[in-house]
């Protein structure tokens, strides 16, 4: 029946599919390796290579990780950093974005550019000054500098995204609310922000993932083991004389679950936010 098939073979969809499939495998391989390591005993890891299938399912690494009080501390510290820094940067970005979008003043465009330009500073440039600053303030080896720095570094992207989203909210809504007696704070919190859930969800996912996974700032600003966050905790678990690959693999998986949950929770809004403005209305 080949003759009935009149369309010529188009190689492009197939090519794109193959490329995407290869990329997906490349990205997933390390995760698969970590997953495999996490369910092997140290002996199995030492005997086989990374990709060998373990003879039996070994959950000891997970029980060891989840029962370790130090790991509980790492999790708690990470939550103590991530939640306030995420909420804080989004809140500050929303406030700044609202002003830039709806209450322009002389020089506000320049100021907006300066704020957004903050994104382009590599952390290495500000690392030493920040360390000296927080050292002078006596905040080294606490979680505060990590929270403050993450909050500050999040302001440019949050301001950019919120300003652009607020700009799409009709000005007439704000003017109506003003006529009806609302002040700017009420307009932002009761009218504009409830309309901005897609943008807020995008930022929540971005900021949460970024701060949760960060290694650099907690490494610089904290020293004691009981102040470390989860990403440094993974390294700390390696042991003094041997590398506990299995345990590290187990913790890596456990540590990535919160970001996964956050993404799944906000996914509905996230996709809407990514296509924001792509279609009319």
């Amino acid at each position: 029946m080949a003759s009935a098939y009149s369309g010529r073979f188009n190689p492009w969809p197939a090519t794109v599919f193959v490329i995407l499939a290869v990329l997906a495998v490349l990205f997933l391989l390390p995760t698969a390796g970590v997953l495999l390591s996490s369910i092997k005993t140290t002996r199995d890891i030492a005997l086989g290579d990374l990709w060998s299938i373990p003879p039996s399912l070994h959950l000891g690494n997970f029980t060891e990780v989840l029962g370790n009080p130090a790991v509980h501390g790492y999790f708690l510290n990470t939550i103590l950093v991530t939640l306030p820094a995420t909420a804080g940067s989004i809140a500050l970005g929303s406030l700044a974005g609202y002003v830039f979008a709806k209450m322009p003043f002389r020089g506000s465009n320049l100021l907006f550019l300066i704020v957004v330009a903050g994104m382009f500073f590599p952390p290495q440039v500000i690392l030493v000054p920040l360390f000296r600053l927080f050292n002078t303030l006596g905040l080294i080896d606490t979680l505060y500098p990590v929270i403050i720095v993450h909050m500050a570094l999040g302001i440019p992207i949050c301001t950019l995204l919120m300003r652009n989203f607020f700009a799409t909210v009709p000005t007439a809504l704000r003017e109506t609310a003003i006529m009806e007696g609302a002040n700017e704070w009420q307009i932002l919190t009761k009218i504009i922000l409830p309309l901005s859930l897609p943008a807020l969800a995008v930022l929540a996912v971005l900021q949460f993932t970024w701060i949760w996974n960060d290694f650099l700032w907690p490494l610089i600003f904290t020293q004691s083991d009981n102040k470390r966050t989860i990403m440094i905790g993974i390294v700390n678990l390696k042991g003094q004389y041997s590398v506990a690959w299995g345990v590290q693999g187990a913790l890596s998986l456990v540590a990535s679950l919160p970001t996964l949950f956050v993404f799944l929770f906000f996914q509905r809004y996230f996709i809407k936010g990514m296509t924001m403005g792509a279609v009319k209305g």
Partner: protein, 365 residues
Amino acid sequence: MARVVLENVVKTYGSVRAVNDVSFTVEDGEFVALVGPSGCGKTTTLNLIAGLIPISGGDIHIGDRLVNDLDPKDRDIAMVFQNYALYPNKTVFKNLAFPLQMRKMPKAEIAAKVNEAARVLDIERLLQRKPRELSGGQQQRVALGRALVRDPRAFLMDEPLSNLDAKLRVQMRTELKRFHQELGATVIYVTHDQLEAVTMADKMAVMSGGNLQQYDSPKRVFDHPVNMFVAGFVGSPAMSLIPLQLDNVAGTLSLKSEAGWSLPLSEANAAKARNTSSRNVVLGARHSTVRLHTQAQAGAIPGVTYTVEPTGDVTFVQIDLGGAIVIVSLDPNIEIRADQPVWLEFDQERIHLFDGETERALRAS
């Protein structure tokens, strides 16, 4: 409800005068249309009354209060925007309740007021819906309701019908008029559509270039436009304006065209024409005041038909009078085609004369 008085109101942006020395009074319960082409300053004027932008000069009174420096919320006026500006995330009930919540009104009182407004506007069964689930007409009613619950001293409306399709627009025009009549509300209504202004308003303020050109009843504006701008803007199709030369032959005044024809003026029109020092006079004639003959007539001016536009009820014919185009409306049953010689007769009682230099209407002093 209250009267609204504008006295020499000015709004400048840098060196641009967006609103230039505008004065008019909207009496209590009157429906006034601010009308003019895009950029004429009508929406700016409305925003000045609302207090959304600060005034640069002059005074605005609402009721017996000078409101120049009052915040919008303290002016006690409601505004209906072009796109209705309903809060998309709130139900109709909450949209109506919002202005009352902002005034910290007790919940029971809010519910009573909202239900009353919903009853007046016949939107009771829509109260639990979100704005996106409403038709354009329903959205407009909700927007009116949100204005109504506040018992404002005046309603300001910024082109509330321009987002609707043609059929719905006519229907909502009728509803707005009923709304105004039943409530006896003071309404200031901005539109670029002179037909909306003529059909709905008690008075119309025709604006152009930031200046108020004429403020009068639609009938007076239609019958006695003060200048060529108003004459050309109000009425559809627009009034035909023909630039001519004033000619005095032995005391008899007539208007001469460059094409060679001339129109002797009646005594009343001659009296008007004597009031100008300019030789350039513009003759204005509405389509319904010009008679068309298909045969030569004594005193009628010869021309050639240019286009014929049948609309069903009436046929509009554009006629070339040697360079100047005149629009005439005809009974649709009259057979006429393009490029046909015709003769026009102007009704001297109903023509308008304008000074060719100042563009002002000539009046018998």
